[in-house]
Amino acid sequence: MGYTPHVLVIGGGVLGTGIARDLVIRGLDVTLVERGALTAGTTGQSYGILSSVAQFEPLGVDTKLVMRERTTLQEIADHCIENTGGLLVRHSDDSAEQFEQLQSRLDAAEVEYEHLDGEHAQDIEPALSSSVAEALRVPDVVVDPLRLTVANARSAHSYGARIRTHTEVTEIAVEDGTVGSVTVEHDPSPAGPRNRRHSDSGRQSSDSVRSDGGTPGRSSSGGPGRGSGQSNKSVPGAGKPQFRQPEQPSVEEIDADYIINATGPWAREVAALAGFEVDVTLVAETVLTAYGNPLETVVRRWMPDKEHLTASTTAVSRGETVLLGSTRREISTPEEASAFPDEVERIRNVVTPLVPAVEETRILRADCGVRSYPDVETEDGCLLVDHGEVDACWGMTTVIGGSLTTHRHVAERVADDVCAKFGIRRECQTDEIPTHDSEVPHQDSDRQSQSGDEYPVVCECQSVSRGAVRGALADEPSTDADLDEVRIRTSAGMGHCQGGRCAHRLAAELYPDYDAATTNDALDAFVEGRWEGQRPALGGEHLRQAMQTYVVSAVTMNRTTPDVSLVPSKTDEVREAVDDEERTTSKNTVGLAGFDDGQQQRGRDSPPWGERPI
């Protein structure tokens, strides 16, 4: 053969990484680009349930497929999966008839389940309310979607795929009925082109980085910056560390033989870059993260909906936290997705009748994710739009739909299709080859205390050690200096203080590999990312934590005021600046002469060390 087609996969969610993995294992040359960090889009906002019941998947999805994929993922990504089991419950207020219909549908699809009366359901899940009349015990499992995506990416990378985050596609050239080169902007700064739903703010920050040339020393995210670590003084003994500068933002063209658009809710925008139109149904879904987890299983209330979008009330156990959902509404662009304080109460009010202990949990966040579906029914809930067929323009396929549960299968379909186009006949192996371990190896800075704990700890809430943080930073497919890359690999900053206590310590791990300004930008970007989901949830108990974090940031850290530079005397400084026409004084210069130097106090009056007569 000698010729290896180069495929560009756009989108770093679970599906994009799954497609990249499948293609590269089949021997193709693969590049994956993602605007933010991995999982920054839909994947990062998903419940993480691997359904055993197709009724919770988009309509039309085949139950056997769902079951098979769930089993496969357990085999290839066991380390990301918790075998919790699930309960489909009927509250005593709900229609028994509809519940029977659900049961008969499961029978027809040959789903294994166990019917339980309310009491037995409570035996299995003690947190259930006694108002639960009956339940079906189904073999649902919970997966960490962040780790699963990292696992896919690491696996793809180990086979030679290039995983490029902070890389946004800005142009797709079309010439003579063929898709040509793709222009991407790579912004490696921590606040880079984050894959936020609010693409406006993402663009803004990347523009502002460009406008000041990514100058180190100033915060590119507009927040208060800490001064640059580069000293202009001579340092005794010299030997200052050489800082790694994040690369400058760059624009380049990628010439791929084929392009896969796997950007989920953004598929329409990306396809439009090439002048194609695709139809995607977008649903904004708000999910709460609550601290204080009363649950051991997945609990879902069956609420059949006339819409083809299933509505359900769900509570999913994830470590110390529990995910509660959800409210859903159809939207027309991903930018419309936003969580609101009233949704917090609405969700809590529908979950509490099933799991009363939810009343006592503290809602940490309300995140609004965007689900995307094809507007036609397909048997795997997914539609491949081959623009060669639809738009008579060869070279690109847009993938619409697919779910966490079915993503590997969808990736297989995409890869089959791509391989067929290039006359390559290789079987899919992603169902046999285990994903790469997403447990990024710790770097050797960890120790063991006498009690066996690993230390030093950086994030106390989630017990994340320094070695784990450094391991995540060193992980190959991650973008330098983006702390979200650490978060998705270690869960740091996802506990009950949402990074309030650890964010600056996480950022400090970047130093001295990176300079102080980059370290500070990384901190700002991380704190902003954590803040977005917390704001809608601040009508309740979590406001206390938010206030605490604010007080520490404002008082102890003084991060709310501009950076200053200390000079012996401001008057002298101004005079010197006037003499030396090149120089200007900054308004943030503070003359020390006006401040207490420790000598003019009421207390002890002995001179300080260094000035004592010997």
Binding site: R226, G227, G229, S231, K233, P236, P341, E345, S449, Q450, S451, D453, E454, Y455, P456, V457, E460, R466, R501, H504, R505, A507, E509, Y511, P512, A516, R530, R535, L538, G539, G540, E541, R544, Y550, S553, A554, V555, T556, M557, N558, R559, T560, D563, V564, L566, K587, N588, V590, G594, F595, D596, D597, G598, Q601, R602, G603, R604, P608, W609, G610
Partner: protein, 451 residues
């Protein structure tokens, strides 16, 4: 203090700085009065910096304020420090100074008129007025070289980052080193454990007392710096002794740098204030107020659910730091008072409660105004000017909680400290000043409020 007969029973709800100062001030004015302090969340001192910040920033000025008392005139007219006036703020600082300036275990220093500049845990600068002697060596406003020492076993303070940042912004040299603390922790995080080891001067595995071992670790990296800073963990109860030992072993001034939370300087201040309460004959009751009774516009009694506390870093048996256990047998006592001071703190301390889009004052259900839509409570920027930082009770100019109409809610209720609304104390760096002056004033007014 005037000819008015003093009332005889004062209850202060809250044992933060403002509560303690109010109680001590009341007792000073009316030594015969019974003063009780309800201590609900003494662990909150872990978040206290241990410094008293009178005023660090005003709306007019970008940089830190040099003369805090002078700049009080720039504050809004209804600001607590404006209401009392700078002379009273100075008196309150003097009162605090009389309590702690000459203190043997926790001396406080600092100039009343000029702010000092100290380092933040990430290498920034913040202004403060009064600070423990253990921080004096670390003043950034003192122009001497310094070295910052961090420990490999902890992530609270990245010495290199802090040192390099400070070096870049100061007109003198700041150098840094990270060393191994000469003990292995048994549990993580080890901050308290190391502090307790230093208090006890515990022996390291090779038999060297830990203070000496620490000095030996640091001495080789010391150049000619006249001052050496460590994360704030140099002992809990024997802090001054630990510091003095290290100073003579290292032949340099030894100081502490704030590390955020847990803040040992805050815990030391609590321990000292609580001792002062005890010495002053003020009863401290651990518990939380669960109910109160009123009669014709005055508060008569409060019901307190008592709690008992164990552990929480005070256990020194094996040096392990167990989380503090707060238990309650549910027993309630009724406490009568002629006057009450609400000093339960703001949102972070639990003095205010947020629930289902409502903000309430947690103890006496005083009026708290807030926008209806919780999205307006916070700013889109995590460090922006949040409305929630200004939440608190509204009061008259005499710090008596009032309704939206300005009417006093209870004739014998006063409010002090961060439970007061309308100001962003954190952004102003004025919490210490506000706590001192409102504690000082309400302590006086409450005991003089009798006929």
């Amino acid at each position: 203090m005037g000819g008015a007969a003093n009332m005889t029973r004062l209850v202060v709800v809250g044992a933060g700085i403002e509560g303690c100062i109010a109680a001590l001030r009341a007792k000073e004015i009316a030594p015969e009065a019974s003063v009780q302090v309800i201590s609900t969340a003494p662990e909150r001192y872990e978040y206290e910096t241990g410094t008293i910040d009178v005023l660090g920033y005003t709306a007019e000025k970008e940089g830190p304020v040099g003369l805090p008392l002078f700049e009080i005139r720039k504050l809004p007219e209804d600001h607590p420090c404006r209401l009392t006036g700078r002379h009273t703020v100075r008196q309150a600082l003097g009162f605090f100074g009389d309590l702690l300036d000459e203190d043997e275990t926790l001396p406080y220093v600092g100039s009343d008129s000029r702010n000092a500049l100290v380092a933040t845990p990430d290498g920034g600068v913040r202004p403060t007025s009064r600070y423990p002697a253990g921080m004096r060596g670390g003043l950034l406003s003192s122009r001497r070289d310094m070295r910052i020492v961090g420990f490999e076993q902890m992530t609270y303070l990245d010495a290199e980052l802090v040192g390099d940042r400070l070096d870049a912004i100061t007109p003198y040299d700041v150098t840094s080193t990270t060393v191994e603390f000469p003990l292995d922790p048994t549990a993580s995080p080890p901050l308290r454990e190391f502090a307790v080891a230093l208090d006890e001067n515990r022996e390291t595995p090779d038999g060297t007392p830990v203070r000496e071992a620490l000095a030996e670790t640091v001495r080789p990296v010391l150049d000619i710096e006249p001052r050496v800073g460590f994360p704030a963990m140099l002992g809990l109860t024997e802090h001054e002794e630990v510091r003095a030992d290290l100073e003579s072993l290292l032949q340099a001034e030894v100081f502490e740098l704030s590390v955020g939370e847990p803040s040992l300087p805050g815990i030391r201040l609590r321990n000292r204030l609580f001792e002062l309460l005890e010495d002053g004959g003020i009863e401290r009751i651990d518990g939380s107020v669960v109910d109160f009774e009123t009669d014709s516009g005055t508060i008569q009694t409060i019901a307190v659910e008592k709690t008992s506390r164990e552990g929480g870093g005070t256990s020194r048996e094996d040096g392990r730091t167990s989380p503090e256990e707060v238990t309650s047998d549910g027993s309630r006592t009724r406490i009568e008072g002629e006057a009450f001071i609400l000093a339960a703190g703001g949102l972070a301390a639990g003095g205010l409660t947020a629930r289902r889009g409502e903000i309430t004052e947690s103890v006496f259900d005083c009026h708290v105004s807030h926008p209806e839509n919780p999205l307006e409570w916070s700013h889109p920027d995590p460090l922006g000017e949040h409305q929630f930082a200004r939440f608190g009770v509204e009061t008259t100019a005499d710090f008596q909680p009032c309704g939206p109409d300005g009417e006093v809610l209870y004739d014998n209720l006063y409010a002090a400290g961060t439970v007061l609304g309308g100001y962003d104390f954190a952004r102003e760096h004025s919490r210490g000043g506000v706590c001192l002056v409102t504690g000082y004033e309400t302590g006086k007014d409450a005991v003089q409020s009798g006929e």
